[in-house]
Amino acid sequence: MPEPIIRIVNLTKKFGNLTAVDHLNLEIEEGEILGLLGPNGAGKTTTLLMLTTVLRPTEGTAFVGPYDVTQEPDKARTLVGMAFQDPKVLWVSTPWDILNWHAKVCGIPSNEREKRLRWVLEEVGLWNERRKSVHTFSGGMRKRIEVAKILVQRPKIAIIDEPTTQIDIVGKHRIWNMIRSLRDEGSTILLATNELYEADVLSDRVAIIHRGKLLVCDNPKKLKDSIPGGDVIEVVLGKDVSKKCLEEVERMNRVVDVLSTKPNHLKIYLNKAEEVLPQITEFFLKMRIPIKSVQMSEPTLDDVFAHYTGLTIEEAEKR
């Protein structure tokens, strides 16, 4: 197993009586995209700020590459670049100035800088606005500047906090593609998000955190499969089914529960639906019960979150 590029050990941050991050343990492997999923206030941003040495942990530590963030923060920061949740720009600055200075402070040589800036500004759709003050920009445009910083920098470890909030759907896909290409160029990505779909489509693994604690971490497929009866197959049959038939279906491997919403309408809760579906159709054909329609649905990461917390992400945010 390769050495993790980030190792978080008992990381804790307290603000007065509030424990924002509570003894978090997590390892991130080189070259992966790890999605840190949780509702607002779960402790995602605080974790990221400790990894970038902006905040000092109250307890525990994290290793960024070989460097302990509490002992060698200056060295740790040479490996990391962060795109913040709220754009960190002064209203008087222009996109060109912001990115040019960012590239300079990150040590990108001048012959490379201009080329890279042009490419990134075109990619995020801000080339024509590069000389305008950001105070005239919308929230989405400012957010694009924030993401552009990391694309210009191409750090070994890119930490990205909610990259697509306030960005339209076309822009989201653009940014997702850029994050993927950043990974393909060799960066490890730590992506904090509260958007389930974003975490699902982008992440190799998803770590779900709630109230500062890590609940679970695995790849999205395994997380969904980990919910007993998480997959649902809805079958509408040509005639009513007997109680005996229902019991037969219930006894099938991986089936967790069967609900008869109408006499000819079954809702089957199971795992690995794609493997069980042929068995179910074969069973009804053998019983000479015609199948009118079949609909299969997978659990979402929201279901995974609800499974571990008893709350949907929306409910967790309200509490």
Binding site: L49, V54, D74, G81, K88
Partner: protein, 267 residues
């Protein structure tokens, strides 16, 4: 180990940011012109010849040299407002996440804050020198004196910048900082020799004003520009005063700023 390249890159950011405050820069320059062309000229006509003689032959020259120092001071304190502005916009978190050390960051800010003010005021300093020399054509200007005066003003801007950073990181609220700095600015300019010499001040004011860094800077600049008057602070004392001010506040600003950033109390 401090990287000078990193310090310079940080300082460069403050220089560029300052240039973006176009309206502020234009307004300050207009304020300076109004002070010279209106206030300076009118008051100059009001004063008796003996007063004019006491301040080196022309109150207008004395005043022009003083007002440019007050402009140098007011633009150098601007870095403190930047620090608050950045805290409001969360830019401080961004700066802390960058691959520069905390020492490089605070040193760069202090240098940037002073340097940008000096560069901005330099053309107006030249205008003032021209006005002084054209109104006293017989005065002798030593290039060495002028060089020493400029060097001291350069240090003065770093000291003021450090002073502003010290206040900005010590006062938690931007409103309080704004009010406090407004009050300090009013007092520090009026209790100095930027507008009038020590000899015309009541003794209790003069006893304070003689230790004011603006007094040292204004009188040293007058000396460098060739204004000869007994009312000016002795150059050696002024140089010593400016070096002390620079040393205390530049390093205090750097020390406190670094401590605040490391300790996380900027939050």
């Amino acid at each position: 180990m401090i990287s000078l390249r990193n310090v310079w890159v940080v300082a460069e950011r403050d220089l560029r940011t300052f240039l973006n405050y176009k309206h502020v820069l234009i307004m300050r320059a207009l304020w300076f012109l109004a002070q010279i062309a209106l206030f300076g000229l009118v008051v100059n006509k009001m004063l008796r010849p003996d007063v004019q003689e006491a301040v080196g032959g022309s109150y207008f020259s004395f005043y022009a040299a003083g007002i440019i120092i007050s402009l140098l001071y007011s633009t150098s304190v601007f870095i403190g407002y930047d620090i608050y502005e950045e805290a409001d916009h969360g830019v401080i978190e961004y700066l802390l996440s960058l691959p520069v050390s905390r020492k490089e960051l605070v040193l760069g800010r202090s240098i940037g804050g002073g340097l940008r003010s000096f560069l901005y005021v330099s053309p107006m300093l030249m205008v003032v020198l021209y006005l002084i020399w054209s109104s006293n054509p017989q005065s002798f200007v030593s290039p060495l004196q002028l060089f020493i005066a400029f060097l001291a003003l350069f240090l003065f801007t770093f000291g003021v910048s450090g002073f502003s950073i010290t206040l900005a990181v010590s006062i938690k609220s931007s409103d309080k900082f704004d009010i406090f700095l407004g009050m300090i600015n009013a007092l520090i300019v009026r209790l100095s020799t930027t507008l009038y010499p020590l000899v015309y001040m009541p003794s209790y004011y003069a006893s304070v004003a003689q230790f004011n860094p603006l007094t040292f800077a204004a009188d040293l600049f007058r000396w460098g520009a060739g204004l000869e008057s007994a009312v000016l602070t002795a150059p050696a004392i002024a140089i010593f005063g400016i070096i002390s001010f620079f040393s205390i506040f530049t390093f205090l600003g750097i020390f406190l700023h670094e401590r605040v950033l490391e300790g996380g109390s900027w939050q």
